[in-house]
Each structure stands twice: as structure tokens, then as C-alpha cells.
Symmetry: C2
């Protein structure tokens, strides 16, 4: 028997709104959000479609995590603190109730971990695959949001964590052979992104620009460079790879072009370089300088000898 | 040749963000929204799925209108002023480019009419039908939002405009025979809802509760009654019908149970009844008293002789 819209909302979704009075128990036409006068609201919206952004047999709670986290990553890239979210579930008739229950369990776990609440949304049916759309709301001190257009020539180009892991994880799920001890951590990186909310917050007032790595390192750096009107040169060998990635073929290519890592890519005035080590220690997160911005437009990726590296493709396209 | 994600955003969607600096030209990870300190943010999210909420051969600009307007109706029911919106388009591969161009033209026309801007969203592909999800942001003076839970016993139950038209329009689109002069205005009501934004704004500080009629008059009044902990008795004969509706079979039933009219249903302390006529004249919109709230729970619908009217079904379910 299929869970009707009423039961889905009343029994599964409403508890996710508890503790946020402005959600009005999901029982009103809209939610009411208080924004303190020294804050700006930050709002982003990302959607996931079954078979495109996740695999139909991915565990439901991990799909929930991914949905929430790719949106939280947008807040992180703006330096914002999570506040609330709204969600649309366009549900195929054959989606089993236990899937929805596991999905909501994943939302519950992650909204506690990241400190936000469900405040509204819509549930509809579709004859096609499951479509999940989420709008996330966050707060940032007025005028302090990290943006893509603030990079200046001569700054350091930095990236958090390691990149290329998620793309390798997806390749393994699609058939690339790898022993379990390499495969599992890479699949985990693909399925459960770690939005860098604490790093985004720490970079306010420090970084001159920031973006999350969702399309791929080169593509996302391109977004910063175009928005800021500068160019850059990055060293392929400096791009941080995880140990499991290094053991597999195509790791460097994945690091440059693979999407879905959700690390933060940011630019930092060179004189602030010393804060990187302190910040890295405090957040227990590697922060690596991979290149420099310059006045001349364009992006050069070079190897150890300074020779150009030609990536196979500029990034992911999901449309 | 299909419009890629980049071109869809750059060429068609970006112009919809012009004039709203916080949209950051749709080029950043998120939008920045300023909320004045004497205002609360009001946020709602509704989705439309092809073949369920609109017909695949409905004109694309009218689908855009409907998407924006059903969301604006949620703002109207809270007494909020439109500010901005975010949109997810989950697009099937066979959706032609001219459809998207017409769709964006519809958005452009309506966002000018209602005074809001596109500030973000996501475009994805799907193997299923077109799914459109919209999040609308509005502002309301702090503490003055109209809610569903404020009705008290002995108040007037009022509705704007006429109801039942949209459900009759849908029945005509699905084959109910009707001459053009009746069919066209009813189909128009189904396809192009008129969100009662000005009425919602005027009802702040007057109405004790409000909701928009999307599920059907009885179902939506039920939402107010349950949220407020009161009951009501309404007179079926008092429910306002349009001239085209009155000429068709089943108009009364459509008025009680048909959804998608997007009129406002509200409760008003009885001593404020005189404002209805003034407000109606000012807004050029009928405002009709259809019954009274009472302490005893439940909803009675009665005919001219006081005998109970039994509606066929309690409202629309789309899930």
C-alpha cells in the first residue's frame, strides 16, 4: 500500500520541521523566516534526478544526504551558516514506502548534523524517474559573503581536501575494477559529499573568492576567473590526491576534470598564506596551494617541467 | 539542435535576473537577499509535473504563468509581497528549444506584472516528463503574516471571486462539451490563475485566517478549521459561481470540491463585515460571505432549506 501525500507529510516530513517555529508545522501556505538585521539571507537550489545524479539502487538515506549536502556546499562556498530548507519530491508510483522512510531518516540525521530544519515544500507524483529539488536557506554577516568575482592578480589558488575521488568512485560503481580497500572510500566520496561549511565560515574576510568543486576543478576555477576578470596558472602535480586515488589509473585526470567533490576552491591574497597552515590544523582538513592568479586571462595547467597539461574534457555537464 | 545548460542559463534565464543585484547574475553559488529589519521573509515551494498539473500541449508561456502564479498565490495567502524566485527545470530530452523560449517569455511577462526576479536555481535532464519546481520569496511586515490558525468561533467565512471555474475548465479540456463562449473563460481560469496578492496585502490586520483555494473550497476550509480548532457551517447557495459556470452541469459540485481556483478563503471577525464592500469596490473583486465559524468542530454544508449537502469528494489529491 502506498503512502499518500497526507501521510507522507504528516507522519514522515512534519517531524523534520520540529524546533523551527517559522515552519508553522508545514501546515500553512508558506514558512516565515526571521533574518537578523546584521545578516543577509543566502539561498540556493539544486536538484537530483534518479539515474543521472544518483543510481537507482543507491541507499535512500545516502540519496537524502547527497541532496542536502550538495545544497549545503553552495552555502559553504558563500561562507553562510545553514538555517532551513524546502524540498520538492516528484515521486514515481513504484517508489516503495520503505525507500521514503529511509530517505527521511537520512534527512533527519543530516539536518541534525548541520543544524537546519525542513520548513516547506511540495510532494507530487510523476510518471518518470524520482526528481528531488531542494532549496536551502542560510545566513551570512551582511556584506561578508564569499563570491566568485573577487579574485585579483597575484593571489594564491587553493583547494581543500582532495579532488578527483568522487569521479573515480562513480567510475568504480560503473564497472572500473578496484580492490575494496580502494573502492570503498572513493564510492563513499561520490555518495556522501562533505560540505565544507566550517571552512567557508572561516574563509570570510580572508579569501577573495570561493566556489565549490561540483563541475570539476578546471571548470570551477574557470567560473572564478571569468567572474573576476583574471587568469591563472596551476601546477597539475600540486593538485591534492587521496591515497586510494593515487593507486588507480586516471587519478590526475579525475582531479582536474571530475566533478562532485564538493571541496572549496578559493583565492587568497599571497600575504595571507601563513593562515592556511593554522586553518588546516584547526579544521583538520588539508588546504593546498595549487597555483596563482595573474592579470593575463586564461588558465594554464602545467606539469613539473612547466609543460602544458591538456585535460581530456573541461568538466561535467548534467543537462 | 538542443539548447545546452550553459546557453539556457546564459541566454534565456540570466535576463530574468537583471535588476536584482543579489541574484549575482545567476553566476554564483547562491543568491544574496536583503530582508529589512521590520520584515519577515515568507517562502513557499510548489512543483508542477507535465500531464498531472498541466497538459503537455498547454502553451508554454501559460505553463510558466501557472508555475509562477500558484507560488505567488501562497504568498498572497500569507499577505506577503513578492520579492524573488528560484526555479528547477528537469527537462526531458525531447522538449524543443522553442518551448523553453516561450516558457521564459511567460516568466518574463509575469515577473514584471508581479514585481519579482529570478535569483537562482538548477537545470537538469530527466528521462521522464518535464518537472518544474519553484521557490518563491516574499516579504511581510513582522508579525502580520496571515495564517491558517487564527480563526475564532462566530466569524464570517469569506471567499474572493468565483470558485469551481478552474475544475470546470479542466473538465472541458478533458472532453466535457461546452460552447466556446462558456468554455474559453473557464479554460482560462484553469490555465492562468490570478493570485490575489493585492487582496492578501489588504487583509493583513483584518482577516483572522487565510488560505488559497488550491485543493478545493471544502478541503481548504478544512485546513483552516483544523489549524484553528473551530468548526463552520457554510451555505452552498452562497458560494459564488461565475456566469459561465452556472450554465454548465456540476457547477455547484465543482465550486465545493474543485481545486486550482487560487481565490483567497478567509475568516473575518463579524464586526468587520462593513469593510468587505469597501475592499471589494477598491480591488474590483467580489468578496462573498459564505458562512460562519463556530466552536463546535466539523464542517456543515447546507442548502437553502438548511438540509445537508453531501459533496462527492473532499478535494483534489495530486500525490
Amino acid at each position: 500500500m502506498s503512502l499518500g501525500e497526507f501521510d507522507f507529510i504528516e507522519r514522515l516530513l512534519r517531524p523534520l520541521s520540529e524546533g523551527f517555529p517559522g515552519a508553522l508545522g508545514l501546515r500553512d501556505d508558506a514558512a516565515l523566516i526571521d533574518v537578523p538585521s546584521d545578516r543577509q539571507l543566502v539561498v540556493a537550489k539544486d536538484a537530483l534526478v534518479s539515474s543521472i545524479h544518483f543510481l537507482p539502487d543507491d541507499p535512500a538515506d545516502l540519496v537524502a544526504s547527497k541532496l542536502l549536502r550538495v545544497n549545503l556546499s553552495d552555502l559553504a562556498a558563500m561562507g553562510a551558516e545553514p538555517l532551513a530548507y524546502l524540498m520538492v519530491v516528484a515521486r514515481p508510483a513504484d517508489l516503495p514506502d520503505p525507500w521514503l522512510e529511509d530517505f527521511v531518516r537520512g534527512l533527519e540525521r543530516d539536518q541534525k548534523a548541520f543544524g537546519l530544519h525542513l520548513v516547506g515544500g511540495d510532494t507530487v507524483s510523476t510518471s518518470g524517474p524520482l526528481v528531488l529539488a531542494l532549496t536551502v536557506l542560510g545566513l551570512v554577516p551582511r556584506g561578508e559573503a564569499l563570491r566568485r568575482d573577487g579574485a585579483r592578480p597575484g593571489e594564491l589558488v587553493c583547494v581543500s581536501g582532495t579532488v578527483g575521488d568522487a569521479a573515480l568512485g562513480l567510475r568504480i560503481l560503473r564497472g572500473l575494477a578496484a580492490p575494496d580497500e580502494l573502492a570503498l572510500p572513493l564510492i563513499e566520496r561520490y555518495r556522501t559529499p562533505q560540505p565544507r561549511v566550517a571552512l567557508g565560515r572561516a574563509l570570510r574576510g580572508l579569501a577573495s573568492s570561493a566556489i565549490d568543486v561540483s563541475d570539476g576543478l578546471i571548470a570551477d576555477l574557470g567560473h572564478i576567473l571569468r567572474a573576476s576578470g583574471v587568469g591563472a596558472r596551476i601546477e597539475a602535480a600540486a593538485v591534492p590526491l587521496s591515497a586510494p586515488a593515487r593507486a588507480l589509473p586516471g587519478a590526475r585526470q579525475s582531479a582536474l576534470c571530475g566533478g562532485d567533490d564538493y571541496e572549496l576552491l578559493f583565492t587568497l591574497p599571497a600575504e595571507r598564506e601563513p593562515v592556511l597552515a593554522a586553518l588546516s590544523a584547526q579544521l583538520e582538513l588539508p588546504l593546498t596551494v595549487i597555483g596563482r592568479t595573474r592579470a593575463e586571462p586564461g588558465l594554464d595547467v602545467v606539469d613539473e617541467r612547466g609543460a602544458p597539461v591538456r585535460p581530456a574534457r573541461p568538466g561535467w555537464r548534467h543537462f
